[in-house]
Subunit: 388 residues, 2 copies
């Protein structure tokens, strides 16, 4: 079953009508934790046209707080999808060549099966009892989505950050199902510092009196303060010190200090962060946030098969593009160099580029001509191979 | 009035009896915000002996959450004072040569006048109504403390982080009252990223339902969750990615993942951070934390006199030692180079060293032979000048 919601965009991305589908996957999905989802739904947007031999499909894997709305505009949108900079006609992921498939993964909170969904066994929302997930559960669900579209092989599986982890996992789990993997601003596993920031975010959520051990929905509450704090912490790690300095410096909100009332918000950076935190809190689900950060913490490339990364990559057969940004301190360039080193040791075909940017981890979402050119060139070569 | 509390230490630092004094400063202290404290008290520890001509005194300025207990052991202490690595007989700040004065500054919560103290006008605790402070208020109070000890000139004013800011401020505010300033792991002003982390910490405290807009004491409550989160955020910024990796890596608390219960604490770093946060929350005051982080945010060296840092340093006459640590990302080496550059432009006598360390901002508190040697050598030369 597929419900198609066709929006009538202003077409600012020249993407034409954006297909938002609610794809029902009727088969059971066995999860890494030992439980199964008897069925599940995925909200999916697609851009471009699937060619006759279904060889031009690209899977876009979203990051921590991403969703299926990767490109184009829906009515009422104040900004386009999160990767509109690279997806569209003539862009790096060229929708005149590729059929781009962008699902919201399970466990998230934008329509795909997750903590906000109804557990068919209990007829109540899953809430905090939604099964704990690993990256392998996402790729397994995406593998089912592939069958839904009758695609036999992705031209590329592409993602940044947590999305890059999915691309790496695809390359060794379904090696004959993708021609290329693009791993951007990612890492084979989180550092202790990464885990630390995630844990602080989780504690902020759990400490919110409206969290109720995750059962806030039943009480018609939402841990907005905790979620806002979690986002603020995350947000600082997405930006570089330099990009924050360039954007905000030490500029004051009202032109001068507030003196006696100086426990209030005074700097522009404070106001910006609080705004971002509050906005996020209203649009995201706390149980999802906890679940997703735990997925990140647990990911340890190759460990599933008790293998060193280079040994794990030996089963891969696709081409790789590894991209990283100079000022990214969440997943710094050395983490990408580890990926590339493991690929080289495994004898794989890999292109690696470190892109100069002052914009930190967020750079993978932002316009950058060198980044877009390298990504586009790599994918154009893939397009030639698949007769897009 | 001075109350002396003499502890009977186990003498593990060979410091002998540690003097903890509650020094009453009877004169009014005019604050930068326009208000005055009609009198105030400072808790002070001193180490070593003041020489006859009172020329061998060193002022130690504590950082954000520091206090007067900088060295030695009190009965029941599980660890010595926070700077025991460098203060003591034969150590870098050699108590056989120097008389070390270590006060808890006003606004803190360890006995000196601050939010926990009684406002003599209202006969109730100041709480959130304690006057907002600037670094200049601390140096003014320390200047009064100097008179209490009848010291005419400090041999050195020394501090790390926020302590370094006090040393810089001393050098231009009371230029004839110090022979040297030692500025360690510090900065002339906070970056937007620094301010961002402070603001998240403050929001975490304020979002705690036990905060009650700062009036938690009247309600016999304490915003422990908020304070713990604030400390956890701070703590991550004090450590380097590498030091966390060396100390914790991705080691698991119980040897394996908890599967279905995986929203719980699993990694050692999570357990460590939560423990540190909770321990801190019980020993610190939330209103103090907010006040102190705002002091940090506001500090902007030279701006008080509407001067560029190099112009501000022109009035200084002391020798400077500027120390920084390679892996410090809270106040990275470039921030110290800015200080030294301004000092050179101002024609001041400055020694600068960047010390190789994997321990992040915390390095200034930890043993490091090169660091201790450079600091000791610099101070030995000062000691020769003052006939210690």
């Amino acid at each position: 079953m597929t419900t198609k919601i066709v929006s009538n965009p202003l077409d600012r991305s020249n993407l034409g009508e954006i297909q938002t589908e609610v794809v029902h996957i009727p088969e059971p999905l066995e999860l890494s934790c030992g439980l199964s989802l008897i069925d599940h739904v995925l909200c999916v947007e697609t851009y471009g046209q699937l060619n006759k031999n279904k060889s031009n499909a690209v899977l876009v894997c979203h990051a921590l707080t991403g969703n299926h709305h990767a490109a184009g505009w829906h009515i009422g949108d104040k900004k386009p999808g999160w990767w509109d900079n690279v997806i569209g006609p003539g862009k790096s992921i060229d929708t005149e060549q590729f059929f781009v498939v962008s699902p919201s993964n399970i466990g998230t909170c934008h329509g795909s099966t997750g903590p906000l969904s109804i557990n068919p066994i209990t007829n109540a929302a899953w809430g905090p009892n939604f099964p704990k997930l690993q990256i392998s559960d996402w790729t397994a669900s995406q593998r089912m989505l592939m069958d839904h579209y009758k695609i036999n092989c992705w031209a590329a599986v592409i993602g940044g950050s947590l999305g890059g982890m999915q691309a790496m996992h695809w390359s060794i789990t379904y090696p004959d199902k993708l021609l290329s993997a693009v791993v951007i601003a990612s890492a084979m596993k989180l550092s202790a510092q990464n885990i630390a920031f995630n844990e602080i975010a989780r504690r902020a959520i759990k400490a919110d009196p409206n969290f109720h051990h995750g059962h806030y929905q039943e009480k018609n509450k939402k841990p907005l303060q905790g979620l806002a704090l979690a986002r603020m912490i995350g947000h600082v790690t997405y930006l570089s010190d330099l990009s924050m300095a360039e954007k905000f410096g030490r500029e004051l909100l009202n032109g001068n200090f507030l003196g006696e009332k100086s426990e209030s918000i005074e700097f522009k950076i404070e106001s910006y962060l609080n705004y971002q935190g509050d906005k996020f809190a209203h649009g995201f689900d706390a149980n999802s946030y906890i679940l997703l950060t735990k997925m990140l913490d647990h990911f340890d490339f190759g460990s599933e098969h008790s293998k060193q990364p280079s040994a794990a990559f030996e089963v891969a057969s696709c081409k790789f593009l590894v991209l990283t940004f100079s000022s990214d301190w969440r997943f710094p360039p050395k983490r990408s160099r580890e990926i590339t080193k493991a690929l080289i040791t495994a004898g794989r075909d890999v292109t690696h580029a470190e892109i100069s940017s002052s914009q930190g981890h967020d750079a993978f979402l932002l316009p950058n001509s060198r980044y877009q050119k390298i990504l586009g060139t790599f994918l154009n070569r893939i397009a030639l191979n698949v007769n897009c």
